[in-house]
Every structure is written in structure tokens, then in C-alpha cells.
Symmetry: C2
Subunit: 258 residues, 2 copies
């Protein structure tokens, strides 16, 4: 099987032009077939504020109402996605920017409004990913760059978690490729002490992860990221690493196994 | 040679959801290979106003400064492009939304700042269009949908005239396809009296066009549209029609010839 690297880059890197350019250069240097998924960054929140659109929150999670959907689509699929593509083209990487609606790459289901209505939010499934089209691009040496917007195949765009998109793409493409999934963010990996970059947990299996969760060492946003990671490994992805964006080429971070 | 229809749709249709949906349904019904280019609409101007970004004008033409580039990229490549794609997917048309940066489809040159600096504005050339990639999509029954944003291959996104993009794509693709170019807008076609929809000029050659220009019957935004049209015909495009969006399937409008 041919090797494929799927890299998810978080919003904190996107907000820092220097860090983003350094990351894109490393991404380009990464050998072989690859695919990028990017998060959103603070620009959407900033724009919503300037336009007077207030973020509604339920149980600490943002609700994607109509105004918010418009802003995230503009910022993620428009400004961020096209700038990343133009920057990659500049350094010789033939990138193509995509949302899940484009060529029906990532159809997703609008989340059930009961018990909590999170608005225009979609949940993709690995089974629905358009693997044929994506592998055609990849085999033609074109690098897909996904923003975290999908669609319901019924005309609605949907705000979608970028980590879940990365999991879905990696799982679907692992049927055709020997697939590695890299979650890049602004920490060294999974840390025993979130404030100490030297407390990296360099390898972790599912059982150890459960123990860390019970101890409260793994909490908040790290939980869904790890749940997605273990699901990916269980469903055919060869390797999942959680790491700092600057360590992509070294592959230095938390290496997960089942 | 296989037939290809290239349709450019103006901003006035985009601002009217009913007219846009009717147009997209007709577009989908149009038989054979096709490609869509859309203009911008008023949303970008409205957003700029709400965000307090003032449009600078020189000689009646808008200058694309940094703030304006951000807004047009967000609105054209993000909101409008992805909504059109999602709407087409809904009715069974496998559309893919693209800017000129994606897969390096439309590299363009930033316009010379001397004598007038229009800012981040690009001029594409038919010779630079990525015909191979576009014909691969088209032959796989995928319909490209372009917004009017291109790039300079050096990392800069550029605001670009949608009529010129349509001309450039049609001219480039006419080397591979028997290409028809349709400029759809909110009038019946080229009118002798702009306020009288019954004054349609049903056919026009270049000589007649020059005479109409001298008489002042053809003026303003119609001049570059016609100049692009005649250039397209001279460079290999089989057919150019200027028509109301609602008359696309009837092909009723102003039919041009050299």
C-alpha cells in the first residue's frame, strides 16, 4: 500500500503568520502523498464581534446560528483556505482548497436538535467520504486542503469539527493507503502537566489513556481529539501522532497505539 | 470536438435567492459539459460598510486595498461560492468550487500600479489557464464553479473581473472543446434603449458594435463585456451570447459574431 500523510493544523497556528509559514514549508517538505485539514483561528470570532453577531453558548459550546454559519464559511472556506492554498502554490506545492460540499467530498448529517440544538453543525462519517475523487487528486500530485465546512447534500452548509473531519478522512482513505494521521497544535503533545512542555507523554495506548482521564490528567478538548485518534487506529489508520506543529518533520510528540 | 458551455452569471442574479435558484436549475438542465463563473453581488459592499471599511474609488473604479481583498475573498470564494456548490449538489449537479489559486487553475498578473494603483487586482491570460486539470474534472462529470479571485503564483490572492475570467477560460478551453460562452445578467441582452427590454439587438458583429459605440448606444460596463466577447470569438470560441439569466435554456439574447 502507498503511504499517505493526513495533517490537521489547529487554529492557534493559523493566527500566527510566522508559525503558519514555517509549518507550510515543513508540510511541503514532508515526503510523499499528503492532505491538510485546517481549523479556524480567532478571525471568525473577531469578525462576529465587529459585525455585532453574538455567539450563543450552550453548555460551554458555541451554537452555529445563521449569522455564525455565514461568518465561519466566509473565514474558513474563503480567507483562510484560499490564503493557505496561495501560500502553498508559492512554494511549489500544487494545493487545491476544498470544503466538504466540493465534489461532494464530505457529506455530513446535521446534528439532531434534540436534546440540544447546536444549529448548523454537521457530523461526517468515514463511510460517506468521496475516496475515489480524493485519491484521483492525490495520484495526480495535487494536495487537498480542507476547511472545516461540510454540507448535508440537501443545500445546507454545516460547521464541522476539524478533528472529526481529519479522523473521517484518515479512516476512509486508510482503505486505499497506508495512512498516518498527525494532529498538530501549539503544545508538544499530550502533557502530564499542561503548563510544562517537558512533561510529554511520548507513547500512549487506549488503556493508559483511560487511566489518565480518570486521574484528570487528560481533560477538556484533548478528550475528543484522543477519542477520534483511537477510533482512527481501530478502523485501519496505521499511525496517529499528536504533536506541536514545529515538530512535524521530526514526528516528535505523543505516539498513540490501541 | 466535444461541446462545452461556459456560463458567467452576474452579481444581480446572485443577490436574488429566487432568481439564483431558478438559474441554477436551468444551468443543471443545460445538456453536456459545462462550467460556471459567478460575480460578486452586493454582499461584499454591504459587509465592507458594516465593518467600516471604506471603498476607495479612482476614476469611478474601486480600489482593492488589503481590507477589501479580505472581504471579497471571504464573500466570493467563501459564502457565495460554497452556497452555489451546495445548491448544485442538492439538485444532482456534482459541482466543485474553485478560485484561480486552487490547483493553480488561473494564475494572473497583478496589475501594474503605474499610472493608477488599483491595489490587489489581477489580470489573467488564456495562455496560463490550467486546461489539463479543468478538462480532467469536466471529463469526470464534475462541474467547476469559479469565483472571481485569482492569485499571482507568489502567494498573493487577487481580485479579478469575472467577465475577463470567463473570456480567459473560454479561450483556453476552446483549444480542446467546441466552446460556447454565455454572459448571463439582468437584461435581455444588448439593448438599443437600456430602459426598453423590447429593444434587444438580436445579432451583432464587431463592425456593428463599433458603430453602436460611436452612437453612444453601447456604453459603460457593456463595453468591456463586448470587447471580451469579440476577443473570445477571434481566439477560437465558437459562440458568444449575452442574455438574461432566465433565458439561458432558450439561448435568447444578443448573439455575437466577428
Amino acid at each position: 500500500m502507498k503511504k499517505l500523510s493526513i495533517i490537521k493544523i489547529g487554529g492557534n497556528i493559523i493566527d500566527n503568520p510566522e508559525a503558519l509559514n514555517a509549518f507550510l514549508s515543513d508540510f511541503h517538505q514532508l515526503e510523499g502523498r499528503k492532505l491538510l485539514i485546517h481549523g479556524g483561528g480567532v478571525l471568525a470570532t473577531k469578525m462576529a464581534k465587529e459585525l455585532g453577531i453574538e455567539s450563543q453558548m450552550i453548555q460551554g459550546r458555541r451554537v452555529t446560528d445563521e449569522g455564525t454559519l455565514k461568518i465561519v464559511t466566509m473565514v474558513y472556506a474563503g480567507w483562510i483556505n484560499k490564503n493557505i492554498v496561495a501560500s502553498l502554490q508559492k512554494i511549489g506545492c500544487n494545493a487545491i482548497g476544498l470544503s466538504g460540499a466540493d465534489a461532494n467530498c464530505i457529506p455530513s448529517k446535521r446534528r439532531n436538535p434534540v436534546p440540544i440544538d447546536f444549529g448548523f453543525v454537521g457530523d461526517p462519517s468515514p463511510d460517506a467520504i468521496n475516496v475515489d475523487f480524493l485519491s484521483q487528486l492525490i495520484e495526480n500530485d495535487i494536495t487537498p486542503v480542507f476547511c472545516a465546512i461540510t454540507h448535508d447534500e440537501n443545500g445546507l452548509l454545516l460547521n464541522t469539527n476539524a478533528d472529526t473531519i481529519a479522523y473521517s478522512l484518515a479512516t476512509a482513505l486508510s482503505k486505499k493507503y497506508d495512512t498516518s494521521l498527525y494532529y498538530c497544535f501549539e503544545k508538544e503533545g499530550v502533557l502530564k502537566d499542561i503548563n510544562n512542555p517537558n512533561s510529554l507523554i511520548s507513547t500512549m495506548n487506549k488503556q493508559e489513556c483511560e487511566a489518565y482521564k480518570e486521574q484528570g490528567i487528560i481533560a477538556d478538548g484533548m478528550i475528543p481529539k484522543l477519542d477520534n485518534s483511537f477510533k482512527a487506529i481501530e478502523n485501519g489508520v496505521s499511525e496517529v501522532i499528536i504533536l506541536h506543529a514545529k515538530n512535524l518533520l521530526k514526528k516528535y510528540g505523543t505516539i498513540l497505539s490501541v
